[in-house]
Amino acid sequence: MILEVDAVGKQFGALAALTRVSLSVAPGQVFSVIGPNGAGKSTLFNVISGLHAPSTGHVRFAGEDITGLPPEQVNRRGLAKTFQITNVFPEISVLDNVRVAAQSRAPESGRLRSLWRRPDVDDTVLRLLEAFGLGRRADELAENLSHGEQRYLEICLALATAPRLLLLDEPTAGMTPGETRDATALIRRIVVERGLTLLLIEHDMSVVMGISDRVAVLHFGEKIAEGTPEEIRHDPRVIEAYLGGVDD
């Protein structure tokens, strides 16, 4: 298991955002987390990626306990997250965006040497941009990209840090059905090519059913079901949770 979420709970004051959520992700798997709005999916990602320390429980990555580590350290251990609302560096170019992401792994980074040496990562960066069709937009300011292109840029930023596990928070949010299809296929291909493990939050059922190996369902902060896409599709508890809540 590359990721183990062990009875994780998160309280915000009186609000219990997560209650004893456990799941395990095997290397190379595509694991989706679904659930109605407010189910705690993003909170779960925030706990795994280090933004919040869990109130209870542990998170283990590749055997190492990463509970409570800050985001930069979690990222350095091989776990990269994208944001639900596009969170890039708006006023610099697409190339510079991904370049600064890739450079965080260079040996000069974080040391005094970085004052006079610039790590050369351009090849890696350009190849990554090409893979997502952003090669020709390399010199454009990130804020000038279309919504779909910015979502791709989000993923590029995360991938540039050479992760083993990728956390994608609603990667197709705001995309048209056509864009969503393309994005899903692209993500799947990249994941397979690079041998990545993927943990996915998605609202679009076609995406979830299409590429997931396993699916977990959250509702009011608790995991109510887990299984293969087929099992989940027919699980009465899941159907009830969605019918009872407001969803797409």
Binding site: S49, P71, E72, I92, R118
Partner: protein, 316 residues
């Protein structure tokens, strides 16, 4: 960001070096030029923080003033070597900056502004209201510093060249930082602090680095001041002084390095003319700051800079 080619910079410095030889240049002019260049250099080092890292320091006057007192304390005791003064200032300001930057960068950007202000106020209170360093009078009647035993920095011309050397050194350091990988990360932090963290950067460490470099450069500038003025007083650390540094950066243009130098120089010359009308001087400063933010955020130079608009709070 426009990158002036090296020969252009060299030309500017050559011209500046020739100023004392211009016919009609008096003692008064040279000392005024000294002030202008000093202020400009400090504004430039502040730009590293505000323009490139997005951190507004409201307490930069404390770094400046501490540097000045460091020199004053040595000169008072007969240690005349300018090198000793500079080294001592680096140590003193460095220690203070280490403490301030540690606390000020531990949380979100906004706390940086608050904490730098509070720390500077405490430092000012200490120097102004206790008698340890002369209270409100400060340290007066200082002797001239020396470059070499027997070679005193006593004429306006020599003082002018001292500040010119300082400006050159500060410029080189700032350019190095800004074009380095370190500088790129600073910009990323300014653009989106959270994202930088999630990409593996220890944001606090970078912010501290930027703050230390800016503080040390400013402290060196402060260290030079008593060599020109023969005194160091708490007035150097008043928070309004921090405001004047900020206004210099804003006039010149954030994130351009060159802009703040010109802005600082311009502001000094302006202040020299207006200083007699002390009464509504600060009113004008405040108004100018408001006007610049509203109508001329790019400053007088309007140079293209890397920082700009972000995050919306109101719907379009």
């Amino acid at each position: 960001m426009s990158k002036p080619p090296t020969w252009r910079v060299a030309l500017v410095f050559a011209l500046l070096a020739a100023v004392p030889f211009v016919p009609g240049v008096s003692r008064y002019h040279l000392l005024l030029a000294f002030d202008a260049l000093l202020f400009g250099a400090i504004a430039m080092s502040l730009d590293l923080l505000i323009g490139y890292t997005g951190l507004v320091s409201f307490g930069h006057a404390a770094f400046y003033g501490l540097g000045a007192y460091a020199t004053a304390v040595l000169l008072e005791r007969g240690v005349l070597s300018v090198w000793a003064c500079l080294a001592f200032a680096l140590v003193v300001v460095g220690l203070y900056a280490l403490v301030v930057s540690y606390f000020a960068t531990a949380r979100r950007g906004i706390y940086f502004a608050l904490l730098t202000l509070i720390f500077a106020e405490v430092v000012y209170t200490f120097f102004r209201y206790t008698q340890t360093f002369g209270g409100s009078d400060g340290i007066q009647g200082l002797p001239d510093a020396s470059v070499w035993p027997g070679v005193l920095i006593d004429t306006p011309t020599r003082k002018y060249y001292l500040v010119l050397a300082y400006l050159l050194g500060a410029w080189v350091v700032c350019r190095r930082v800004v074009t380095s990988h370190f500088g790129r990360v600073l910009v990323a932090i300014r653009e989106n602090e959270d994202r930088a963290r999630f990409l593996g950067y220890n944001v606090q460490r970078y912010k501290m680095g930027a703050c230390m470099i800016s503080a040390l450069l400013t402290g060196l500038g402060g260290a030079i001041y008593p060599i020109r003025a023969a005194f160091a007083t708490p007035d150097l650390m008043v928070w309004t002084e921090s405001g004047e540094f900020i206004i210099s950066v804003m006039i010149g243009g954030l994130g351009t390095l060159v802009g703040p130098v010109i802005g600082g120089a311009f502001f000094t010359l302006l202040r020299d003319k207006v200083s007699s009308v002390v009464d509504w001087y600060f009113l004008v400063i405040g108004a100018v700051l408001v006007v610049i933010v509203l109508f001329m955020p790019r400053g007088l130079l309007g140079l293209r800079r890397l920082v700009r608009l972000r995050r919306g709070r109101l719907p379009a």
